[in-house]
């Protein structure tokens, strides 16, 4: 990311239009809202079982802030300890370097079949198409990821990548791709079919790639959390394990895991812990472990005080699940790999290019701030994104002029009173066809507010007039 003004690439029709398209199928939108809200409600129940929940959030936030202030030291400590344990640590400045490193590791060892567990970082770097273009077959092994991979779609949610799909759609997809019986939509039988299919891929794989949930500086080890055990399958069968992590995944001590692991699964899915929490330290006997540590804009984010705390994120997706806008617009209405409130912040903090409508895809309700297990002030940072756009002159001219004019009118009492009186007069007297014409987005689905003859200040003055 550079500080120079970006050339503003359009984000197409903008979030609002994509959301409106999502909402055209209203029953599906309601289903999506309720499916995602269900996870938020599960999170509430799980969190309420932990009496010190709010204290855990505070401690987690402080650990993250502390770590970021000494990030380089902790990363170097991690490298030393991981290397001592037998791993090879690679450093990638950006997505291109990351992809090239992973490809080199695989191609030098003749790997043509790779199994992957979930990693938002590799989504961010667009690793799959990079490897596929170079002759490596990549199989995403998380069930949700495999579903969207088969459908040739990106994930629409970072924890539940296929949450936008109903079981019937998945049945049709599996019928086409995996040969399940036509019309089969029973989740258990579909999962069994996926399991059998993935088992073949695991057996044939020559290398396994995972993400990293937490990397521990003092040990050089790291932790991967899954519910399906797919990371364990992918790293136990083939001899080569490539683990990709953003620099912000580092935590100082093993005991800090006691804070983060208690927060992560409860916030993400409402489980007390994930089914599998696997600790890796060095390669398996006779195997290789490569850890690719990626910056890709993170240190630039760290340098910007107003966005810095977005780097606390542990990718639990609780902000998505609670966001009333995400639930009603779906992951694809956002233009960044990560949707929802944290995605808005990460996208705009990196550069508004191509994401100019995202900071406005929020009612600023603040629910995300309160649900976030590491206390990122998300709605404040979304507002900062709007401010950045305005300061760099990247908001639409009509809006800039409108706001400038409104501010001028509101600054002069007589203008304010005249404008108010005129608007109310027109509101009372214009024919309905004019008031509710296309220019008025308020009135498409809503009635306008009352247009009273007198303002509060007029009525107040009348009341106060001393009676004779």
């Amino acid at each position: 990311m550079s500080d120079s003004l970006p050339v503003l690439r359009s984000d197409g029709r903008g979030h609002a239009d994509r959301a409106a398209a999502f909402l055209r199928d209203e029953p599906h939108a309601h289903w999506h809202d309720q499916a995602v809200w269900f996870v938020r409600a599960k999170r509430d129940r799980a969190a309420s079982a932990v009496p010190e929940w709010e204290r855990l959030r505070e401690v987690a936030s402080r650990i993250k802030a502390h770590t970021q202030a000494r990030l380089a030291d902790y990363l170097e400590e991690f490298e030393r300890k991981a290397t001592a344990a037998g791993a090879t640590v690679h450093w990638a400045r950006d997505a291109d370097e990351h992809n090239a490193i992973v490809h080199r590791i695989l191609s030098e060892r003749g790997v043509t079949r790779l199994v992957k567990s979930k990693s938002m970082l590799t989504e961010e770097c667009h690793l799959n198409p990079y490897l596929e273009a170079r002759g490596i077959e990549v199989t995403d092994t998380d069930l949700g990821e495999r579903i969207v991979q088969l459908a040739k779609e990106p994930p629409s949610h970072i924890v539940m990548p296929a949450i936008h799909k109903k079981k019937e759609e998945i049945g049709d997809l599996f019928h086409e791709k995996l040969g399940t019986p036509e019309g089969l939509s029973d989740p258990t039988r579909l999962t069994e079919a996926a399991r059998a299919h993935l088992r073949e891929r695991f057996m044939a794989a020559q290398a396994g790639l995972t993400g990293v949930n937490f990397a521990v500086a003092e040990t050089g080890g790291f932790v991967v959390c899954t519910n399906e055990g797919n990371a364990d399958m992918g790293t136990s069968l083939p001899p080569i394990h490539v683990a990709c992590m953003g620099v912000e995944k580092i935590i100082p001590r093993l005991e800090d895991l006691a804070v983060f692991l208690r927060l992560l699964a409860r916030s993400a899915t409402g489980q007390p812990c994930t089914s599998y929490t696997t600790h890796f330290l060095g390669p398996m006997r006779g195997g290789e472990l490569h850890i690719v540590v990626v910056d890709n804009g993170r240190s630039a984010l760290l340098a910007r005080e107003q966005y810095r705390r977005a780097l606390h994120c542990i990718r639990c997706a609780a902000c998505m699940n609670t966001c009333p806008v995400y639930r009603r617009s779906g992951g694809y209405s956002y233009t960044y790999t990560i949707p929802g409130p944290i995605g808005i912040v990460l996208a705009t903090a990196r550069g508004v290019d191509g994401h100019a409508s995202l900071p406005f895809a929020s009612s600023l309700c603040g629910s995300c701030d309160d649900v976030c297990p590491v206390k990122i002030p998300l709605h404040e940072e979304i507002l900062t994104g709007r401010r950045d756009l305005a300061e760099r002159g990247l908001q639409p001219m009509s809006k800039r002029l409108g706001m400038r004019l409104a501010a001028l009118v509101l600054r002069v009492k007589l203008l304010y009173l005249a404008a108010g009186a005129t608007a109310r007069f027109l509101g009372r007297n214009l024919p309905r066809g004019v008031l509710y014409a296309r220019w008025n987005p308020w009135g498409r689905q809503r009635e306008l507010p009352p247009m009273p003859r007198e303002t509060f200040r007029q009525l107040y003055r009348k009341e106060r007039r001393p009676r004779v």
Binding site: A16, P51, S363, S367, W442, T455, F456, R457, Y460
Partner: protein
């Protein structure tokens, strides 16, 4: 005790009865009310859209109008929060800002925390749904939010439930946003309206006859949707409910 009334611009223009109800409630509680006539708007519309430099002169104007009052009371959580939580970003370190921030209260908060009145003598025998507007809830902490694990409380619900005969109906989603969100209501019209309709459905299902809250902006949005859909709901600002209930 003397308070300066801070009446948000859209209340002055569109909902004068809410301002009058605020005056009535405060006076019935024994407070002297003055209305500084030079006030216009706190600058929230510009600030929330990102136009800090357009909002800053309005923030400075607000300090000129309200500086020197010991208490400033506003029938809107969102506008009160603008002053308390967002002026720092607009006019950092401005002389008098800290004093005005300390003086500014949302109405129910003022009654509860400054007047130290926990119960309102009055009668309101209706089924009421409470809409917890987001900025009042999560920026002013007028109540506990459903996301945080803390002992539940609500300054607004406490005052309302002290009224004789009132029934506060239980909602499925106790503090979900209604989708007003200022310019969000028109910029993201489709999502905004679905959010609002979902709130209406929750209130109707819970058996509410009247929906109340601390912010007329949210109520204006939901009322607009309800009237279009001919939903059997009425909307009253919490000041109107209290004023009507108090003898």
């Amino acid at each position: 005790m003397k308070v300066a009334l801070f009446i948000p611009c859209y209340v002055d223009q569109l909902y004068p009865q809410v301002g009058l109800a605020t005056v009535r409630v405060l006076e019935k509680l024994g407070v002297d009310v003055v209305y500084p006539e030079d006030q216009t708007c706190c600058g929230q519309p510009m600030a929330n859209a990102g136009f800090a430099s357009d909002a800053a002169p309005l923030a400075r104007r607000f300090l000129e109008v309200f500086g020197g009052f010991e208490h400033v009371v506003c029938p809107s959580g969102s506008c009160a929060s603008m002053v308390r939580n967002h002026y720092d970003a607009l006019i950092p370190g401005a002389p008098g800002l800290e004093a005005v921030k300390r003086a500014t209260y949302e109405l129910c908060e003022f009654i509860t925390d400054v007047l130290k009145i926990g119960r309102i003598a009055g009668r309101f025998p209706r089924k009421v749904g409470l809409h917890q507007s987001c900025h009042g809830l999560r920026e002013l902490r007028l109540g506990s939010s459903s996301e945080r694990l803390e002992a539940p409380y609500s300054k607004v619900a406490s005052l309302l439930s002290s009224l004789e005969g009132i029934e506060l109906v239980p909602l499925a989603r106790v503090d979900e946003c209604c989708g007003f969100g200022g310019t969000f209501a028109v910029v993201e019209e489709a999502v905004s309206c679905m959010m609002g309709r979902d709130r209406l459905a929750d209130h109707v299902k819970a058996g509410a006859e009247i929906v109340t809250g601390t912010d007329v902006s949210c109520l204006m949005h939901m009322d607009g949707l309800a009237r279009r859909a001919k939903a059997p709901l009425a909307f009253r600002h919490v000041a109107e409910v209290l004023a009507e209930a108090m003898p």
